[in-house]
């Protein structure tokens, strides 16, 4: 589905002005410091789409993912699923939300109970949520394993997590995530801990689940190459210090990145081609250290690092506005020089 089409469909899950603010006490008699991990995010997820959420470490991706899965209650703002506010759901709607939104974590070892076999880990939710009859659970678990290409399934049933390779464990996580027939899966850096040679196969698996089961994916990463790979027809959302900086169709956004931060991010990505990579390319940022989220800069959060910053950037916070095909939160979006994936030699 193209972005344009989606406007007509109602989003499956919607975030309205969502903020998550952590409080941490520190220092002598001081007020607790407030960390805005996610600030005023508006964002919708449409059925069956793939959204890549990218940004530097600590910008709030995981927190945003946790909001979507319901693990983290937003400090402000509202999250609705199927048009119903999460805070106001009745028991049945809540059940449906719990089943509808699943997650896949980065560390596949930590995400599986080390004391339980794969069969135990996979059968429990099915049994608890009564997805199939009790006698069919075994069959179902085998099917799930086969779906995530762990064949023959019988070989994996009674293994403990440590007895599987990272790639296999990641597949088990996928199997668990789809076991409740979800509508959305939040995948938080699912491949960053997997060996390069195996990453693609996991990404391909996700893509196939997306296509065959029509599950929407939120793919959280800081690796733009994989983001681009998996969200080929979907959208990309770029976060910076808790806020969305740019969002739009992957092809269009990457072909023509508007936000200076995204441009910097793209410049930093090493391209696996020595001919391109060796072209000495500097990162268009004034400063390399991310400011602390505890006291983010006033105005545009990027301004101390942004080479294009001007006076108003220091005071006025830019809002997401449509520029060409994407939405960008930058005052000077239309003035910033175009940026190309292949640097001009």
């Amino acid at each position: 589905m193209a972005v344009q089409d989606m406007r007509k469909v109602k989003p499956l899950l919607e975030l309205e002005d969502v903020s998550v603010i952590f409080e941490r006490r520190q220092g002598l008699f001081s007020e607790p410091t407030k960390i805005g991990a996610v600030v005023d995010v508006n964002f919708g997820i449409y059925p069956g789409e793939v959204v890549a959420l990218v940004g530097e470490s600590g910008c709030g991706k995981t927190t945003l993912g946790n909001v979507v899965t319901g693990l983290q209650k937003p400090t402000h703002g509202k999250l609705s699923y199927n048009g119903v506010d999460l805070a106001k759901m009745n028991k049945q709607q809540l059940q449906e939300f719990r089943r509808g939104v699943q997650m896949v974590q980065q560390d596949s070892y930590a995400a599986l109970n080390p004391m339980r076999t794969i069969y135990q880990s996979l059968s429990a939710p099915i049994l608890q949520k009564k997805i199939v009859k009790k006698k069919d659970v075994f069959q179902r678990v085998c099917e799930l394993l086969s779906t995530v290409e762990l064949n023959p399934p019988e070989q994996f049933l009674y293994k403990y997590p440590h007895q599987l390779s990272g790639g296999q464990r990641q597949r088990v996580l996928m199997a668990r995530a789809i076991s409740l027939n979800p509508k959305i899966i939040v995948a938080d850096e699912p491949v960053s801990m997997i060996d390069v040679s195996l990453r693609i196969s996991i990404l391909n698996l996700m893509a196939s689940l997306n296509k065959k089961m029509d599950i929407a994916f939120i793919y959280i990463t800081h690796d733009l190459s994989t983001a681009k790979y998996i969200a080929q027809n979907g959208r990309i959302a770029v976060m910076y210090l808790g806020k969305l900086a740019e969002i739009g169709n992957v092809r269009q956004v990457l072909a023509n990145p508007k936000h200076p931060y995204l441009q910097a991010l793209l410049s930093a990505v090493p391209v696996p081609d020595p001919k391109v990579a060796k072209g000495n390319r500097s990162i268009p940022l004034k400063n390399f250290d991310m400011p602390s989220p505890a006291n983010p800069p006033k105005g545009c959060r990027l301004h101390p690092r942004c080479p294009y910053a001007e006076a108003r950037c220091e005071t006025v916070e830019p809002q997401l506005t449509r520029v060409d095909a994407s939405e960008v939160a930058c005052h000077r979006a239309s003035e910033i020089p175009a940026w190309n994936l292949v640097p001009a030699q």
Partner: protein
């Protein structure tokens, strides 16, 4: 051919475990040419770090170097006595560790550790001299020397610690700096930044560097020469361009093809199968179960390194011709298919 800082010959490192023996490095021959940046790529567990630590004779227990030689200036480092080794370490070859976060003693300040390190090699040098040098280097890696020296490691961010480690590695002007995945735990932008600094150092000082990584992009950007490791073996070595453009080993070429890139939009093909279990390696060429071009001989016989181009070596039966087969006493039939 240019001069080599280190020449590794037939290096084998074993980890005898209760469950069996792990041969983490298997008869590796490898040169590190002076003044160049050489990269070693390979999946996790392929033996990169073990090789690095073997060069410094600091394989973690229960590992032991079972055979091989490591030549530095024509002398075998493995035969050095304790004192000589002590002098060799860090002043000739230094290292930036894979887990730089944990490479500093948490209860000592950076300053104390700097002084301790230098003093370990030269007891007479004055503290001022040491600190001057340290300050210079810290500035070089774009840190505030005053603040950093007084800090305990936990007060620094990951990127800062990594830069401190880089400064550390240059303290004694070593001939070779081994960089063991210096940026794995870091962000893209920080990573780019660190490599920027490293490139600068390389340019300014001409320091020889050996980079261990599994990030193909980084290799493309930074390295001049590339070695590819698989299951403890060095399977291919060559110039960075030739490795990327016409890799001779199926593993290398598959690897190159399975890396997503911002530049391409193709669907990628993963390398089939799973990573080898070092405790239970397949016979013959360890890659053969995953290799589409495998011949019968691959199942049976371990290939040997052959030269396929200028300064390009590969360890694969694909390139074995009749002459090779004869030399190795192989059945021609097997080799041909």
């Amino acid at each position: 051919m240019s001069e080599n800082v280190i020449e590794v010959r037939g290096l084998t490192v074993d980890f005898p475990l209760r469950a069996g023996n792990i041969r983490a490095v298997n008869h590796v021959n490898f040169d590190i040419p002076k003044g160049k940046i050489t990269a070693l790529v390979g999946e996790s567990g392929s033996g990169k770090s073990t090789m690095a630590s073997a060069i410094l004779r600091s394989v973690s227990s229960p590992g032991l170097i079972s055979s091989g030689e490591i030549f530095y200036q024509g002398e075998d480092v493995l035969k050095y006595n304790k004192e000589k080794m002590q002098r060799f370490k860090w002043s000739k070859v230094s290292m930036v560790f894979q887990a730089a976060q944990n490479a500093l003693n948490p209860v000592m300040t950076i300053r104390e550790q700097v002084i301790e390190t230098v003093r370990a090699h030269d007891a007479k040098i004055t503290e001022k001299k040491i600190l001057d040098k340290a300050k210079e280097l810290l500035e070089y890696v774009r840190l505030e020397p005053g603040r950093v020296l007084a800090a305990h490691p936990h007060e620094l961010s990951g990127g800062m610690k990594q830069r401190v480690m880089i400064a550390f590695s240059l303290l004694l002007n070593p001939e070779l700096v081994i960089l063991d995945e210096p940026t794995t735990a870091l962000d893209v932008i920080t990573q780019a930044y660190i490599f920027d600094i490293l490139a600068q150092i390389h340019e300014d000082m001409g320091t020889t560097m050996l980079l261990m990584t599994h990030d193909i992009g980084v290799v493309a950007r930074f390295a001049e020469r590339v070695g590819v490791m698989y299951a403890g073996r060095l399977v291919e070595v060559g110039d960075v361009y030739s490795i990327f453009d016409n890799a001779d080993h199926p593993y290398t070429s598959n690897l190159m093809k399975s890396v997503p890139s911002l530049l391409s939009n193709d669907d990628l093909q993963p390398i089939v199968g799973s990573t080898p279990n070092l405790l239970n390696l397949p016979s013959g060429c360890p890659f053969h179960p995953r290799c589409k071009q495998a011949k019968p001989v691959c199942k049976r016989v371990d290939p040997v390194m052959v030269e396929t181009g200028v300064d390009h070596l590969v360890n694969c039966h694909i390139h074995s011709n009749e002459e090779y087969a004869r030399e190795q006493h192989l059945d021609l039939e097997e080799v041909r298919v």
